[in-house]
């Protein structure tokens, strides 16, 4: 009961915030709505007993990515005029509708597995064994930083003064 109320409250906040990101004219307020949306998603993770994921969601998306987006907005000129639409409006709309349809189709047609087992407590050590232990996901964990490092090096090369 309590979980259901929490889910619907978070879901409504999340969806309204996500719509606000797209519909608001003021870019800065749109970025703040994005922060709210990320927080609502983190809240949903909490209701799913994924506490570690929720904390990382807040740390990475709210603490780092949103802040970088806001910083980029501050460095942009003529923000006050809002986000003017351009010729890509219609194609973007079509792509968004297609994506939305694909997501809905996937969600409706997936045979979701429901498990009766109570959620794992504590989650951290199980997660650590899964990520770094034997037979775990150590290779993807190692590949992701390499990819990030390559991206960082690329960014440095792009902005380097000649």
């Amino acid at each position: 009961m309590g979980l259901e109320i929490a889910f619907w409250a978070l879901a409504i906040v999340g969806v309204v915030a996500a719509l606000a990101v797209v519909l608001l004219r003021d870019v800065f307020r749109a970025a703040l709505s994005l922060v709210l949306c990320f927080l609502a998603v983190a809240g949903i993770y909490v209701t799913l007993s994924a506490d570690f994921l929720a904390a990382v969601q807040v740390l990475v998306y709210v603490g780092a990515i949103s802040v970088l987006i806001i910083l980029a907005i501050m460095l942009t000129r003529e923000v006050q005029r809002g986000s003017p639409s351009n010729r890509l409006r219609l194609p973007a709309f079509v792509v968004a509708i297609l994506f939305f349809g694909a997501v809905v189709f996937a969600m409706v047609n997936t045979p979701w597995q429901v498990v009766d087992v109570p959620p794992l407590e504590p989650t951290t050590s199980a997660l650590a064994f899964k990520l770094f232990g034997e037979g775990g996901f150590i290779l993807p964990v190692e590949i992701a930083p390499v990819l990030l490092l390559a991206a960082i090096l690329g960014a440095i090369v792009l902005v380097r003064e000649k």
Binding site: F28, R29, V58, L59, V62, A64, V67, I70, T123, T124
Partner: protein, 373 residues
């Protein structure tokens, strides 16, 4: 070879409070929310008094001593003064965001205290991701500062906010890396279990980690060598230039709440929290928090403010490599000594810290030939 005990034996948890003290889920919530609110307000007032009087002493002057005996009512007088002031919103500013900013900055600072153990088991929720929760929640406060800087429609506010984000994002990396050392030794992210693991305070086992954490955290909460986002001589008052009245008071409260949270976190991670002989646990906790705060404003009265490029260079060229080395050495020790850390390691770690700090400080000498940092 005697081993440093990093877990409580079966007899060690006699005094632990049950997780739903004083009986019932909602009573636990209510009681602890009230305790936390009172703790924060009273300690912030005490800190303001201590800082103003203590700073006066350290600067060879008296400090405020008129309101009440020994000036003890000075924080109250300050609060009343600031509450009676007019609340001004810039005409061309974003009014909603301007109003929301202090709230967004204050809530995360308050939420940190949910996982701080005042005594064994005496905390709002013993999250098993305790310290990660703190790191995540405190990163939200930056958004509040950003909102304030933006909504004020003032170039100095905006500059202050941008300095803040550059500084906070940079110092978060050494901060988290130094926490990782503590977590490795304690074997848990839960704040209460980290305290339980400290039969010797981790400041001895992790001296370099403590130094890095202390400096990075001072930068995170913008205390004086790193308070560039409100450097009076450069950008008026930074992000809260356009704030007055109650909203300014809230930002002031945020500043001290963050320092209080920082003192409590250092107490928990490095100074063995509520543990100590003779005195009751919560008293030990309070004593250590106040001692850490004294250290913080002692630093403030001693070291002048850095330049912005020095601050950034210090984070990336000094703290980050040191934090990486610290994490590496800690991991090496844990792997090499799986049955526990022996006592002589304390001396080894202190020696490593001294060598590394002396080595690295050589790169940052000012005036002695190398002016560039």
């Amino acid at each position: 070879m005697t081993i440093v005990e990093t877990s409580l034996g079966p007899g060690g948890r006699l005094a632990a409070l049950p997780p739903d003290w004083p009986g019932g889920y909602w009573w636990h919530w209510l009681v602890f929310v009230v305790i936390i609110l009172i703790f924060v307000v009273v300690m912030v007032m005490a800190f303001i008094y201590m800082e103003r009087r203590g700073l006066g002493r350290l600067q060879a002057r008296l400090g405020p001593n008129r309101a009440g005996p020994l000036g003890i009512l000075q924080p109250v007088a300050d609060a009343i003064k600031v509450l009676l002031k007019e609340d001004i919103i810039p005409a061309k500013g974003d009014k909603l965001v301007h109003w929301l900013a202090p709230v967004v900055a204050f809530v995360p600072a308050l939420m940190i205290f949910a996982v701080i153990p005042f005594q064994d088991g005496a905390l709002l929720v013993d999250l098993n991701i305790g310290i990660l929760y703190i790191v995540a929640i405190s990163s939200v406060a930056t958004v509040g500062v950003f909102m304030a800087g933006w909504a004020s429609n003032n170039k100095f506010s905006l500059l202050g906010a941008m300095r803040d984000v550059a500084q906070v994002v940079s110092y978060e990396i050494p901060l988290v890396l130094s926490i990782a050392g503590v977590v490795l030794v304690a074997g848990s992210l839960s704040m209460n279990e980290i305290v339980e693991a400290q039969s010797v305070p981790f400041i001895l086992l992790q001296p370099l980690g403590f130094l890095i954490f202390f400096m990075a955290a001072c930068a995170e909460v913008n205390r004086t060598p790193f308070d560039l986002l409100e450097a009076e001589s450069e950008i008026v008052a930074g992000f809260h230039t356009e704030y007055s009245g109650m909203k300014f008071a809230l930002f002031y409260l945020v500043e001290y709440t963050e320092v209080l949270a920082l003192s409590a976190i250092i107490t928990t991670l490095f100074l063995s929290g509520w543990r100590g002989p003779l005195l009751p646990p919560f008293l030990w906790f309070l004593i250590k928090v106040v001692a850490v705060f004294f250290l913080i404003f002692w630093v403030r009265s001693t070291i002048p403010r850095l330049r912005i490029d020095q601050v950034m260079a210090f984070a990336w060229k000094c703290l980050l490599p040191l934090a990486l080395i610290n994490l590496f050495i800690t991991g090496l020790e844990i792997v090499a000594l799986p049955e526990g850390l022996p006592w002589f390691l304390i001396l080894v770690n202190i020696a490593i810290m001294v060598v590394l700090v002396v080595l690295w400080s050589g790169f940052f000498k000012l005036g002695g030939g190398r002016v560039e940092v």
